[in-house]
């Protein structure tokens, strides 16, 4: 079926990178594990999945954690695991770090610096101290400017509430439409055995949940969770010799619109415009080619803005797109199918990495009850800061090697 099949992807070269193993720790409330134990659990699961051992790992990428001051996180994690890689990096693009780790691994492999990279991130954000402590820590040293914003008392959710309020004003987006994002994420999480929150909720439940920072209510906001995720990246040639179906990195893009929301004059337009455009161009495809979209969902409004800015619907139509059911498992664009940060769990910088892992599961056809039938091309998107920094990945399933669908 060449016409529908050839989506214009370039031929994969031996230096093209593939994800060959994925692993998650327990996600949710995990009081019996430290940050390093959670990362170690995830790394072991990913190695087991790939059929590799730590002796095969010659590259390591991780992110900072909020629960400890490690100084040089990549060194701490490598040392804990007992590996001495020829390439190490600590990456911090806030919530976009998960997606960016995969691309940075691919670059390190393409540069010849290493062959097999362990990307791992996560922590005991919930159980290390308390949810209240995590909320305060993020408010005081998260996306808000220490001098010009923090003294006014915004929560991290307040930074997104400012975006939501403006989006409602400019485009008529409603609280009901935002609530539908939370409801859909919970539906997806109910099919994810590792999700933090699996009890179904309704739009009415979301609207009746307590107001945090208007217009965002409790259930418009991401969870605070314990957990870690890991993936193994290697070159395409080696990937084909390993035991799991390879998932190829076909394209990527980055976008930055601002650092602090207070100074940004176009609050409803995010750097996902640039990251998406670059990712689609480098993969040689368009939004219509995406079978499943794992979008970063720190707040309900985030998903609405990303749907628009990545080109899945016209600007301002995100709320309606969600309300019409497009992002559900039976919709035209199944979105964040593991339940996301809103319901599967959010352990800080590692949170967005679970979206990448879910894309891999979907492309392997291993997503169980939440499998999107025939998924061959996935988009995984990370967003960091207050909708400030974006990384978009285009991933292709095992058949992508043959140059497209089918």
């Amino acid at each position: 079926m060449p016409s529908a099949c050839n989506v214009g992807m370039q031929d994969l070269t031996p230096t093209h990178a593939a994800i060959v193993g994925i692993g998650e720790s327990r996600l949710g409330v995990v009081p019996d594990r430290s940050a390093l134990q959670l990362q170690s659990d995830a790394a072991n699961a990913a190695l087991h999945d790939a059929g590799l051992t730590l002796a095969d790992i010659d590259g390591l990428i991780t992110t900072p954690v909020r629960v400890a001051s490690w100084g040089m996180p990549c060194g701490v994690v490598a040392s804990y695991l007992g590996v001495r890689p020829s390439y190490l990096s600590t990456l911090d693009l806030a919530g976009a770090s998960g997606a960016a780790m995969i691309h940075h691994a691919a670059m390190a492999i393409a540069a010849g610096q290493c062959t097999t990279v362990l990307c791992v991130a996560g922590q005991n954000l919930l159980s290390n101290r308390s949810r209240a402590s995590a909320v305060q820590s993020m408010a005081e040293s998260g996306g808000a400017h220490a001098q010009f914003e923090v003294p006014y008392g915004p929560l991290i959710p307040s930074l997104y509430a400012l975006i939501a309020q403006r989006h409602m004003y400019e485009y008529g987006t409603t609280s009901e439409q935002m609530a539908k994002v939370a409801v859909t994420m919970r539906e997806h999480a109910s099919l994810n055995p590792n999700a933090h929150m699996r009890e179904p909720i309704s739009v009415e439940t979301v609207l009746a949940s307590r107001m945090i920072t208007s217009p965002l209510k409790l259930l418009d906001c991401a969870l605070v969770s314990d957990g870690a995720a890991a993936a193994i990246v290697t070159g395409a040639d080696r990937a084909r010799t390993l035991r799991r179906p390879p998932v190829y990195l076909l394209g990527q893009g980055y976008g930055l619109s601002h650092s602090h929301v207070g100074e940004y004059r176009q609050l409803t337009r995010s750097g996902a415009v640039e990251s998406g455009r670059a990712a689609f161009a480098s993969a040689g495809i368009s939004p219509a080619d995406i079978d499943v979209a794992e979008l970063y969902d720190c707040f309900t409004i985030t998903v609405i803005v990303e749907l628009e800015d990545l080109g899945f619907c016209p600007k301002g139509e995100g709320g309606r797109f969600v309300a019409d059911g497009h992002i559900g498992l039976r919709g035209s664009l199944p979105t964040t199918t593991h339940g996301g940060l809103l319901s599967a769990g959010h352990p800080g910088l590692g949170g967005g990495f679970f979206h990448v892992l879910e894309a891999v599961r979907q492309l392997r056809g291993e997503a169980g009850a939440r499998q999107v039938e025939g998924a061959e091309i996935a988009l995984a998107h990370g967003n960091g800061g207050a909708i400030a920094i974006h990384c978009t990945l285009i991933l292709g399933g095992p058949n992508a090697r043959e140059g497209g669908r089918g």
Binding site: Q136, F148, P151, L155, L162, T213, V261
Partner: protein, 134 residues
């Protein structure tokens, strides 16, 4: 973690701004090359990269660009203040800044509301520019 309200710690690039607020002046960095005013203060103009900056006194007027009413305080330092309004104000000179809106009930605040600067003196520690309806 501290229960104290987080206050600005001026640095060499922002001292002039915070000296201004203590004198109840809203000082804004202005580029002598491209003429644009920016905020928050930098050593280079973020619009053209020029280092030829000076300070101008802002008129203190603007409009609410967006706002949120905070009900769940970020820390115990804010617990007696809820509900309070965190807003972004678009200044007449162009730049936007984050602030609080006072002088009216939180539910009276709306996007587009004309506001003017007011001053919240927090002892001798700092003075924060806030905004009230005008």
């Amino acid at each position: 973690m501290s229960d104290e309200r987080p206050l600005p710690t001026p640095d060499p690039g922002t001292e002039t701004y915070w000296e201004g607020t203590r004198a109840h002046q809203l000082r804004l960095p202005h580029c002598q090359d491209c003429g644009q005013v920016h905020f928050y203060p930098r050593t280079l103009c973020p619009h053209c990269g020029s280092a030829r900056l000076d300070w101008m006194q802002g008129c203190g007027r603007g409009q609410v660009y967006s706002f949120t009413v905070v009900h769940r305080p970020p820390s115990s330092a804010f617990k007696d203040r809820v509900p309070y309004v965190v807003a972004i104000v678009a200044l007449e000179e162009g730049p936007h800044l984050m602030t609080n809106i006072g002088g009216c009930p939180p539910d009276a605040v709306c996007i587009g509301m004309p506001v003017e600067v007011a001053w919240e003196d927090i002892g001798s520690a700092a003075t924060l520019p806030c905004f009230v309806p005008r």
